[in-house]
């Protein structure tokens, strides 16, 4: 038990339960909004989402019970700093992919992830990552005809 006290509810698990209820509600709301032809009233596109929503709600109830009983396995304390580096890398790659091209964008992702695992300096990792990604780009975009966005660096050579 993460709380150490059996009578105190496991708050993060209660958050999970809330998320499950929210997801179920979202599905019900979206499914009601749908315009469905009357022919499909009995067996149509609506029933399955309702079943899934009902299942999620039931599991939400189960999760609340588990949170109150503290029956989730113990969790170790984790650091969020390293995660932030990696998430930042993914976000930056996503945003500059079109303009900077595959190699540079992925080089940044590479460098920031390595930084998340404690590797410094970032500029050196960036150089290594960009060269690595450029080789991947040649292999996949040229060799295997995958459509990977090209940027200034790629256009310099091809």
């Amino acid at each position: 038990m993460s709380t150490g006290n059996p009578r105190r509810p496991d708050r993060p698990v209660l958050v999970i339960a809330a998320a499950l209820f929210a997801l179920a509600a979202l599905i019900v709301w979206q499914t009601r909004e749908m315009q469905v032809a009357a022919t499909y009233a009995r067996v149509g596109p609506r029933q399955f989402p309702y079943v899934v929503a009902a299942g999620l709600a039931a599991l939400g109830v189960g999760t609340v019970i588990a949170a109150l009983r503290g029956s989730f396995p113990e969790r170790e304390k984790e650091e969020f700093g390293p995660m932030a580096w990696i998430v930042a890398g993914l976000v930056i790659q996503m945003l500059i992919l079109r303009t900077a091209g595959f190699s540079v964008a992925t080089g940044i992702l590479f460098a920031l992830s390595a930084r998340g695992f404690g590797r410094r300096p970032v500029w050196l990792s960036f150089l290594i990552g960009t060269v690595f990604s450029f080789l991947i780009w040649i292999l996949f975009a040229r060799g295997l005809q995958l459509s990977l966005p090209a940027g200034p660096l790629e256009r310099l050579f091809f």
């Binding site: 989402p49 299942g55 599991l59 984790e78 995660m83 993914l90 996503m94 992919l97 992830s113």
Partner: protein, 505 residues
């Protein structure tokens, strides 16, 4: 006799130079990626799926078969030389194999794992060739209601039967099912759960989800947990060849492992980890020197490793004949078929017989290549294990985004990758299993199709679902599969089940 003819034709197809080349590329990169610590077969096939995007269906599936078998092989190397197995099915191999490596017998441990995998792969792939036509004949007699029951059974066994909590397993499954409702409804053309976003009309890509959950989620988890320290790699000392004594002690476990692994893999009842676990306990009870178990008994490597590979081939039986993926790896292979508009199932054997049989034959070819490739090149694979963690995970992330960009170079798709990656981290943090999410996403729409077809035939009367004997038997098995673990857990035997939990393959 039919099977022989078809298999021979398939072999002829698989032996074409281009196909041999595809198989060789497949097993090489499959082994190379599978060897990397922390990467199991499911992640290996998900990461490498984009490599096959631009090939023709035949070549692509042959390469994919090589990747699948190669990934399984690579995982056993990792678990023998490193105490953290790359795949859950290899945990047992790590138990004895790592002890052998520490005692300086890493070479024979790797050899018995490789040869055992070869023997098991060969026998199990032949078994697959002979069993499949029978299952296909049976499958053709099934109605939509029976199919739905079969999928319910698969849902239950994947999510609730194994692992240490039915609640968390089912929650993971329903998250997958919820994601499966996104996109255009196949029967009516109705857009569901798309929130007016055109990118969502095609639904959520299985590969995006799988790569995000396995690769991004795992990387975040590794970065966040302070306790995940570096593991010591055991050097391979001495000869990789097995002594006469090693052979004598290995060949029976190989055969027993195959015998245990194949049926377990072919039932919709869990993956390779169950098989290797059962094989390990069988070997311990058969062993002439049971006291060696726990200190590096070669039988404890030979048996489970064979069982592991035999069940990998067994998994292909329900996948190819019924279109039913029972592991996350199988779910991704199903996605590989779907990208070519092929739907595995009994009709695949009728409409694309040539393709199916050359796929089965190429599994035999891949198996042979692996043993040739693995024993002499072991030194090279070992060097892959020494890649430092920061480069390894940075590389994994680059590759993970490469697959997504290659399939659909849009900001939206990368956003999904990130979102599901965070979901994967959360699932790991709270000990939810990952495989049910992937299986739910891919099997959800298929189950819905069968359910609606069955109900449409009966004009909406739900009694049709329980009115065939086959369906009733399947529901019966499903109920047993839920109740037995529940009772075991209540009686304090949950620990054993937790060990059997399939996290990844």
């Amino acid at each position: 006799m039919d099977t022989f003819v078809l298999l021979a034709q398939g072999l002829a197809g698989a032996m074409e130079p281009m196909n041999l080349l595809y198989a060789l590329i497949g097993v090489t990169i499959g082994t190379a990626v599978g060897v990397l610590p922390g990467i199991g077969p499911a992640l290996t096939v998900a990461l490498l799926l984009p490599v096959t995007y631009r090939l023709d269906p035949g070549g692509s599936l042959i390469m994919f078969a090589g990747i699948y078998y190669g990934g399984m092989y690579g995982g056993s190397t990792t678990s023998i030389l490193l105490n953290t197995p790359g795949e859950s099915a290899s945990i047992i191999t790590a138990l004895e194999g790592n002890k052998m490596a520490r005692a300086g017998r890493g070479g024979p441990a790797l050899a018995t794992a490789a040869i055992g995998s070869f023997v098991a792969g060969l026998l199990a792939t032949l078994a697959l060739a002979f069993v499949a036509p029978w299952v296909v004949r049976f499958a053709l007699s099934l109605g939509p209601a029976d199919y739905f029951a079969l999928m319910v059974l698969a849902f239950v066994t994947v999510s609730a039967a194994l692992g240490d909590s039915a609640l968390r397993g089912l929650t993971a499954l329903f998250i997958g099912l919820a994601l499966a409702t996104v996109g255009i409804d196949l029967q009516t053309g109705q857009a569901r759960m798309t929130f007016g976003i055109p990118d969502l009309l095609d639904g959520i890509e299985v590969t995006t989800l799988a790569v995000a959950l396995f690769a991004v989620g795992e990387t975040l988890k590794m970065a966040a947990s302070p306790s995940a320290g570096a593991e010591k790699i055991e050097a391979v000392k001495g000869s990789v060849w097995m002594s006469r004594e090693d052979w004598k002690r290995s060949w029976k476990p190989w055969l027993r492992g195959t015998l245990i692994g194949f049926p377990i893999g072919s039932m919709p009842a869990g993956g390779a980890d169950v098989a290797s676990f059962l094989s390990y306990s069988a070997e311990r009870s058969f062993a002439r020197h049971p006291e060696e178990f726990g200190n590096g008994a070669i039988e404890g490597v030979a048996g489970p490793e064979a069982a592991n590979n035999a069940s990998a081939a067994g998994t292909l039986v329900p996948l190819l004949t019924l279109g039913l993926p029972t592991t996350a790896t199988a779910a991704i292979i199903l996605a590989a078929f779907q990208q070519f508009g092929l739907q595995p199932g009994p009709l695949l054997f009728a409409n694309n017989a040539e393709l199916v049989w050359s796929l089965i034959a190429s599994l035999l070819v891949a198996n042979l290549m692996l043993i040739v490739l693995n024993l002499p090149m072991i030194g090279l694979w070992v060097r892959l294990l020494t890649i430092p963690r920061h480069w390894l995970y940075a590389g994994i992330l680059s590759f993970a985004t490469l697959g997504t960009i290659g399939a659909n170079p849009s900001v939206f798709e990368l956003g999904l990758l990130l979102a599901f990656g965070l979901l994967g981290y959360g699932l790991r943090r709270f000990d939810y299993p990952i495989a049910p999410v992937v299986v739910g996403l891919i099997l959800g729409p298929l189950a819905e199709q069968q359910l609606r077809r069955a109900l449409a035939i009966a004009q909406g009367d739900p009694v049709i679902l329980v009115s065939s004997p086959v369906a009733l038997v399947l529901y019966g098995i499903a109920i047993v599969a839920v109740l037995v673990p529940l009772i075991l857990r209540l009686r304090g035997r949950g620990k054993v089940l937790a060990q059997l939990a399939s996290d990844e393959d």
